[in-house]
């Protein structure tokens, strides 16, 4: 058995262990921390599956941002009444074999793969050359399946609208009630002054490198969002009111530029979201830069939650 197989087995056991633990543990706070640990370990598993782009996304979103959201929620819900005892044993007894059955039926096709495995990898590498991009995943995201990516941005905006619509009437247009660190604390202030410059450099680097190597707008935008939230949590900046015009402009800037370039493709390249030959790479980089900003703002506001405080005059 090679050293890499030993590593993979250790990692799979760790993933299964933490995954099971987040489900069975009683304490919700512990379960959430377990989920953060799980997200960080899953990033390593994605590296082992040669999907570095996914690993970057998982480390940033799965571990960091989702963890932050859930830690905030669980801290608020500590005071909640948990009424009604746990689920009845009969339900558990029925559910367990059912879930095992579903897991087994998912595992079966993996254990017995078809003789010929279909792959789009050769097609992608062939068609990647004219675009000038070096990262096949970026090629898929921004050239071959760009409609998906555009609509995904719309989904993010819709989710944000959904969250905002949960605001009480009086708070509409006000500030999101993101919990900040209660007492001003020089240690956290120092971290919030130290980390964001590094994070912004990392975000620009992620966005820039995305055309050639793993990375891109999602990863860069998530880093930006995290740094923004860090500054807010430390109390160095206020959460902006959701009615601010600059905020709304930033939110739609990326998707709008994407849409405009897509529509320009109708004139210049005869198809929606097609790029004129020779100009593909600069256009994609422009879209990625705009999207990085917009994704940063959208993710930050998604994590900040619905407005709770009335608009400041």
């Amino acid at each position: 058995m090679s050293a890499s197989s030993v590593f993979d087995i250790c990692l799979a056991v760790l993933l299964l262990g933490i995954g099971a633990w987040t489900i069975i543990v009683d304490n919700a706070f512990a379960a959430v921390i377990g989920f953060v640990v799980y997200g960080l370990s899953l990033a390593i598993a994605w590296v082992r599956l040669s999907a570095v782009d996914v690993a970057l996304t998982e480390a940033a979103i799965g571990g960091g941002m989702t963890g932050m959201l859930m830690l905030g929620a669980v801290a608020r819900l500590r005071l909640a009444r948990v009424d009604g005892a746990g689920t009845r044993w009969s339900v558990r007894l029925v559910a367990a074999p059912l879930c095992a059955l579903i897991a087994a039926s998912l595992a079966t096709p993996l254990l017995f793969p078809p003789p010929v495995i279909p792959s789009l990898a050769p097609t992608v590498t062939q068609n990647l050359v004219p675009t000038g991009l070096g990262n096949p995943v970026a090629g898929v995201l921004f050239v071959f399946r760009s409609l998906d990516t555009l609509l995904e941005k719309v989904v993010l905006l819709l989710a944000l609208l959904g969250i905002w619509s949960l605001a009480p009437d009086g708070a509409w247009g006000g500030q999101p009630g993101l919990r900040v660190y209660a007492q001003p604390n020089s240690t956290l202030t120092f971290l919030a002054q130290l980390l964001p410059p590094i994070g912004i450099v990392v975000a620009i680097y992620m966005c820039w490198v995305g055309a050639k190597d793993p990375g891109g707008a999602f990863q860069g935008g998530t880093v930006l969002a995290a740094m923004w939230l860090l500054v807010i949590i430390a109390g160095l900046e206020n959460v902006p009111s959701i009615g601010q015009p600059w905020l709304r402009a930033l939110l739609v800037f990326g998707p709008l530029l994407f849409l405009v370039i897509g529509l320009a493709g109708l004139v210049l390249a005869n198809a929606f979201l097609a790029y004129p030959p020779g100009y593909a790479k600069p256009m994609i980089v422009a879209v990625e830069v705009a999207l990085t900003l917009s994704i940063g703002v959208v993710l930050g506001l998604l994590a900040a939650g619905p407005p709770e405080l009335a608009r400041r005059q």
Binding site: I44, M68, R179, V180, L195, V202
Partner: protein, 95 residues
């Protein structure tokens, strides 16, 4: 050499995994957060080992993000711990 680096990565992973199993059984939340920090650092170490062992420098970027977001999660934790205890004063003052 590469298989040595893989073995080192497995060793670090096993160490951390065993540590995690014990730590998460403790009652205090702060211990759990230490486990997450341990995994953040250890994950970064494992990833730089993997990056060199499999000669793919892009993996180093994953280590970078892992380190950044482990710190971010810890800040989110500290915020939650402070907030909840200020609301329930009975828990405070355990010194």
């Amino acid at each position: 050499m590469d298989s040595f680096l893989f073995s080192a990565a497995s060793f670090v992973l096993t160490t951390i995994a065993l540590g995690l199993i014990v730590i998460i059984q403790r009652p205090a939340d702060v211990d759990h957060m230490m486990a997450a920090q341990l995994l953040g650092t250890g994950g970064a170490a494992i990833l730089v080992l993997l990056a060199v062992a499999s000669k793919s420098s892009a993996i180093v970027d994953v280590a970078l993000l892992l380190a950044l977001f482990a710190a971010f999660a810890a800040v989110a934790f500290v915020r939650g711990a402070i907030k909840s205890t200020t609301k329930t004063p009975t828990v405070a003052n355990g010194r």
